[in-house]
């Protein structure tokens, strides 16, 4: 159904918030953020507005509108997890016994304009004969305009709520260029038809990385196929 000759349509959105933490995998214990939003977090913002199994988003561009500022604070976190399988009533966490204080290095005052391509997922049945990209793009833009979302969008961590609105079009990115090196693009989720069997039966999700460069305040995110093709190649 998707045209192979042209790229699918783009949807754009402006996201802002007071605090954001896109934690780096290597510093995810004492959380340290990437300097700007990761494509996977951006995707989650789009999915908060509109998502159906039939569509998927690929983030292609991130524009940074505010200067990159870090702030650091400590929070009490828990050191253990309740197991998700084999859950019985005796598995509980006493928070005051398991408390650990961990540092968080977060971004303060973030503002981005994100644009993504909307793909249709061929593995899912089309929703009627008139199912096409335009329908979903229109739905997305309507919902964005009205401020509707399935769950409250967040910037990296659930507690950092995001404000989403349609972009006006004249937002100027910051005149900063920065080479971040490798940044998380997204995860490669395996096919998972049987939810009961869990991750251990199939391969666990694999992280994908791309070379992130901020040029004139804009990060050009490569297409997902490019990222997959470049796995394993030296940076």
């Amino acid at each position: 159904m998707s045209d192979s000759s042209q790229r699918p349509p783009k949807v754009c959105m402006r996201a802002s918030g007071n605090l954001a933490c896109f934690s780096r995998p290597e510093f995810s214990v004492e959380r340290a953020s990437y300097p700007w939003i990761t494509p996977s977090s951006a995707r989650s913002l789009f999915e908060a507005v509109l998502w159906k199994p039939r569509i998927r988003y690929e983030v292609r561009e991130i524009r940074v509108l505010r200067a990159i500022r870090f702030t650091s604070f400590r929070r009490n976190e828990i050191g253990t997890k309740i197991p998700s399988r084999g859950l019985t009533p005796d598995k509980w966490i006493a928070t005051d016994e398991e408390r650990q204080q961990r540092n968080t290095l977060a971004l303060s005052d973030v503002d981005y304009v994100l644009s993504a391509e909307l793909f249709l997922n061929d593995a899912v049945q089309p929703d009627g004969a008139d199912d096409n990209h335009g329908k979903y793009v229109a739905m997305f833009e309507r919902r964005l305009e009205r401020g509707q979302h399935f769950h409250h969008p967040y910037l990296g961590c659930r507690e950092f709520a995001a404000d989403l609105r349609p972009p006006v079009g004249d937002e100027a990115p910051i005149p900063v260029s920065l080479d971040q090196g490798l940044m998380l693009y997204d995860f490669l989720y395996p096919d998972w038809p049987d939810k009961r069997r869990g991750w251990q039966e199939k391969k666990a999700p694999q992280p994908l990385y791309f070379h992130a460069r901020l040029e004139g305040g804009v990060v050009a995110v490569p297409a997902r196929d490019d990222v997959l093709a470049r796995r394993g190649a030296p940076r």
């Binding site: 510093f27 050191g79 253990t80 920065l178 394993g232 940076r235």
Partner: protein, 611 residues
């Protein structure tokens, strides 16, 4: 970003040495001849600065031994493996002898393997020595024991042999062999053999993953390499996942952040070089490299580096040295001149766009806390440091006073000497460092309150860190509150709080000249005068009349005139409460006036009168 630039730093400075080797200290060198006979034994230790320093050189990479596993290193190992010698105290245990024998045999096997594979003269000689030693250790040990005093220790099955005390003192010291004066483990044959097998002893083949530092597919390390950070003993891994809550997607431990062995070794080496604990020697050339870290507290360290080629980092070191241990004598003009001077082929430091990385870490009991990881440019840093030092400049209390304005000293000034927690808060330390390097950042809001609280407290250290606190107050007032604060006394300053501070200083001086009070007004009333002047000053003024009368003569007239001059600048109604920033200005005025009053006296007089 940080890890990648650390790996680049390690590559740029050649910290990774050669494949298959790592830098270690070798304590003993045994010179062999062609047939494997020992010609002499050299001890490489020498006392430098009260510490024993050994020959630091590249040795074949050592393996990790866990528990009671017997694994011999290649060509260079400790006495237990090379010679089968153990700690005399533990030799009474049941199978200790057998174990030592096994170790010795393992080392012999490993050497033989290399000798047979390459048939190199030196390697063969070493193999021969070891087999000869196995059959009859006495000739060698006699030679070894001939220098230094000896202890008796059982070795092998039944014989008691003399072993040099130095060997038993440090049984983990490495023993290496030389042939024709050159180390056998560095012979080209050995190098080739080891390089071909570099990385073999890595983790047993786990699943291949993309290393998040280099982007290449490799087997990620199970444990990251450990780095020694100041503040406590023992090396710590920089990255670790030590609780289940931090594991995602059913990944265990460090697989949550897959890093390949090359990247892990590289960034750990770069960190060690930056921390420079105990003097970091370059792995190949052996020269000592200067540390690139600023100590902000007992456990908080700031590491910095710039992405420059070659030795262009010297101005960075100057800047950081200024932050680490500056004093009032640090000539701001000189620093500024250095920073603005043109350099061959590169822009002057003030405008240099080279990336500059800052990493502030605190060492807690078992983990490393990352306070901040930032990227600036050298130019920004240069400008900010100059601005910071300029903000801190303030007149000393008396002419000879040396005021340290390094970050560590400033942070120490925020805490009281007498209480048990004499460590400044690590978060404050990190934030102050960031403010020093980025002039747009406001100072942490609690800094002003903390410094002022030191003046209100009852401990007796008010005089010891006084001027440093003044410098901090001035810096905060200038940057956060945008006030104009001069370096020394400004008689026409418009601020009421400033003049109240001056007044307090004059009153204090008057009292001191009049009577010999053990608890002068400075001790009793400073806190209240600073916070609520209206309550206190009327009483102090009354007292001052008596003091002046007691002084009498020309001095009375002069002081009286000074007093009147200051009072004239005050409004008719004294404020009942001063807010924090005005309290800061009060203290600055107090300090300026005191400095002005005291510097005119002789030194002998001031020494006696200092409370």
């Amino acid at each position: 970003m940080i890890l990648q630039s650390l790996v680049r730093l390690a590559e740029r400075e050649g910290l990774l040495g050669e494949p298959g080797y790592e830098p270690k200290d070798v304590a003993w060198l045994i010179e062999l001849d062609r047939d494997g006979r020992a010609l002499g034994v050299t001890y490489t230790g020498e006392k430098v600065d009260k510490k024993e320093r050994f020959l630091r050189t590249l040795v074949p990479k050592r393996c990790t031994r866990s528990g009671l596993a017997i694994r011999a290193d290649r060509l260079v190992d400790k006495a237990q493996y090379v010679l089968g010698m153990g700690d005399p105290k533990t030799l009474d245990e049941a199978d200790a002898h057998k174990r030592l024998d096994d170790c010795r045999r393992a080392f012999l096997e490993s050497t033989r393997q290399l000798a047979d594979a390459s048939s190199d003269e030196g390697l063969v000689a070493q193999a021969r020595f070891l087999s000869a030693f196995a059959t009859d250790p006495t000739p060698f040990l006699a030679m070894w024991g001939s220098d230094g005093d000896v202890v008796r220790a059982p070795q092998g099955a039944a014989s008691i042999v003399d072993v040099p005390r130095r060997a038993t003192g440090n049984l983990s010291a490495l023993i290496g062999f030389t042939y024709l004066g050159a180390p056998i483990w560095r012979r080209p044959a050995a190098q080739a053999w080891l390089a071909a097998r570099d990385g073999e002893a890595a983790d047993d083949a786990g699943a291949l993953e993309t290393c998040l530092v280099t982007g290449q597919e490799c087997t990620p390390v199970r444990n990251h390499e450990k780095v020694d950070l100041p503040g406590d003993t023992g090396p710590l891994p920089f990255i670790s996942f030590n609780a289940s809550a931090y594991e995602h997607y059913d990944r265990a431990g460090n697989h949550n952040a897959p890093v390949g062995p090359y990247a892990s070794a590289a960034y750990a080496m770069a960190l060690r070089r930056l921390v420079g604990r105990g003097g970091f020697a370059h792995p190949t050339s052996g020269e000592l490299m200067p540390a690139r870290s600023v100590q902000l507290g007992a456990k908080t360290t700031a590491l910095y580096w710039a992405d420059v080629e070659g030795a262009g980092d010297d101005p960075t070191d100057l800047l950081m040295a200024a932050l680490g241990s500056a004093s009032q004598e640090t000539d701001i003009q000189h620093v500024r001149a250095v920073l603005e001077a043109p350099r061959t082929g590169r822009p002057p430091l003030i405008a240099d766009p080279t990336p500059f990385y800052l990493l502030i870490v605190t060492r807690e009991k078992s983990r490393v806390v990352l306070r901040t990881a930032e990227l600036h440019t050298l130019g920004e840093i240069a400008r900010s440091v100059v601005a910071f030092l300029g903000d801190l400049a303030i007149c000393p209390r008396f002419a000879d006073e040396r005021v340290p304005t390094g970050l560590r000293s400033l942070l120490d000034a925020t805490v009281s000497i007498r209480t048990s927690d004499t460590e400044p808060a690590p978060d404050l330390a990190a934030r102050l460092m960031r403010c020093a390097l980025d002039s747009r950042l406001p100072y942490p809001p609690e800094l002003l309150a903390t410094v002022l609280r030191r003046f209100r407290s009852q401990d007796d250290d008010k005089q010891l860190r006084f001027t440093r606190r003044m410098a901090l107050l001035k810096a905060v007032l200038v940057r956060t509150y945008k006030q104009e604060i001069p370096v020394s006394l400004e008689p026409n300053h418009p601020s009421t709080a400033y003049n109240l501070g001056r007044l307090f200083a004059v009153l204090e001086k008057t009292q001191q000249e009049a009577i010999d009070a053990k608890a002068g007004i400075a001790d009793r009333f400073l806190g209240t005068a600073m916070a609520s002047p209206a309550l206190v000053f009327s009483r102090l003024m009354k007292l001052s009349h008596h003091h002046l009368a007691k002084i009498g003569g020309g001095r009375e007239v002069n002081l009286g005139r000074l007093l009147d001059g200051v009072v004239a600048k005050l409004p008719p109604e004294l404020p009942s409460v001063l807010e924090l920033r005005d309290q800061g200005t009060f203290m600055i005025g107090y300090h300026h006036q005191r400095a002005d009053l005291w510097t005119k006296k002789t030194d002998a007089g001031t020494a006696a009168k200092e409370p």
